[in-house]
């Protein structure tokens, strides 16, 4: 058995934190709907990752591995709380962060995304933000590939309709 020496393990861990904590936090926010919970989820994810770090052989698999751990941490939260994934409402993002894009179409989209059922939102986030393939997403979410395809299809359709509706309404108003 090969045991990784301590400094090496620390180095590996630190790299994972620096490389992926930003992505994980963003992902956690959009699946949990709450910044505080997102914060906790990422912390828990890394604590677990540390414990099982030796099982990560391929550096290239790290992001999917961490993403999967985070999903499980999130699911565990629902087991504890006993309510449904889709029941969760996203809290509102602080409106006045300087680096937030405040263009009306971006704000409209942010609202539309929050209205989207979490089961649709999640594969979309994985695909658009991180470029995961259908196969990757199917594996991360433990779903058949076709189900992932259907959800992506519906997610985009719903967003598109929502935005077109918003546009129509604002045109009628002006």
């Amino acid at each position: 058995m090969v045991t990784v020496t301590k400094p090496e393990k620390h180095k590996k861990f630190e790299n994972l934190v620096n490389a992926y904590s930003g992505w994980l936090h963003r992902y956690a926010y959009w699946i949990s709907g709450n910044r505080t919970i997102a914060d906790d989820l990422v912390q828990e994810t890394y604590l677990r990752a540390w414990r099982f770090l030796d099982s990560l052989k391929e550096e290239s698999a790290a992001k999917s591995w961490l993403t999967t751990i985070l999903r499980r941490e999130n699911a565990r939260r629902f087991e504890r709380k006993q309510f449904e994934y889709s029941d969760v409402e996203l809290d509102s993002l602080p409106a006045t962060q300087s680096d937030f894009d405040a263009r009306p179409e971006v704000t409209a989209l942010r609202i539309a995304l929050k209205k989207l059922p979490a089961t649709y939102r999640e594969p979309l986030i994985l695909q658009v933000l991180e470029g995961y393939t259908l196969e990757d997403i199917a594996e991360i979410m433990s779903l058949p590939r076709n189900t992932v395809a259907t959800r992506l299809h519906r997610a985009r359709q719903k967003l598109k309709h929502q935005l077109e509706n918003d546009e129509r309404i604002s045109n009628e108003l002006s």
Binding site: S21, H25, K81, Q127, H153
Partner: protein, 239 residues
Amino acid sequence: MNCLETRRLTLINPQDSHPARLVHLQECASCNRFARKLVAQDELIKEATKVDLPEGFAARILLNQSLQSASRRPTRWTWLGLAASFLLAIVFLPTLIEDSFYSPFETELVAHVSAHNVFSKNAHDHVTEPERIRQILASAGTEMPEDAGNIIYASTCVIDGDVMAHLLVENNEQQYVVFVMPQSAVAERSFSHADWAGQIARVNNRSIAVLNQTGAGLQPATTVFSEQFAQPLLTKRTI
């Protein structure tokens, strides 16, 4: 490839590289517009999903890990708790009384009630089914009460690291928020904090907190609830 199939593939992935789709996009202006709209929408999603990273986030993860390796596993709350008691200790050092130590828990309770607002106005959209209520009470180690009034809503919640049942109960035409805590770690007392009045009672090794916003009927309600929600679970535990 026809328009329908082109649009289907485009909705699944606007970057899809299926050659027949790309050919169709060259030839069909309408599908081309459709695809460009979705590509633009994806670009907007990238912007719209940006979330500010908390300050010192990566450093905190590393710190957390090193502390855990030292066999303690602090949560955010223990940190806040430590920081808070440290501050309290400085500020109240000369008059450090019991109350200063106890106050944080009701602050947590009230903060939770405000965040997880199931009171009054939307209570009836929330109605929890009896079987669900039974499960939730069981997870707090309690039987379904016989005569506690009308349980409108129930949920299992974690407050300050402890799992408890969070209920909305109607009794004598008043609504009360009730927390059934399987542990009795919290001392009995009355409190009023922010807009809320509350009482905490201990019965059968557990604590019950009862809150409402007027304080009306709180005392008798607490007496009723602490009897009703303190029946130990009769069924055998399945762990």
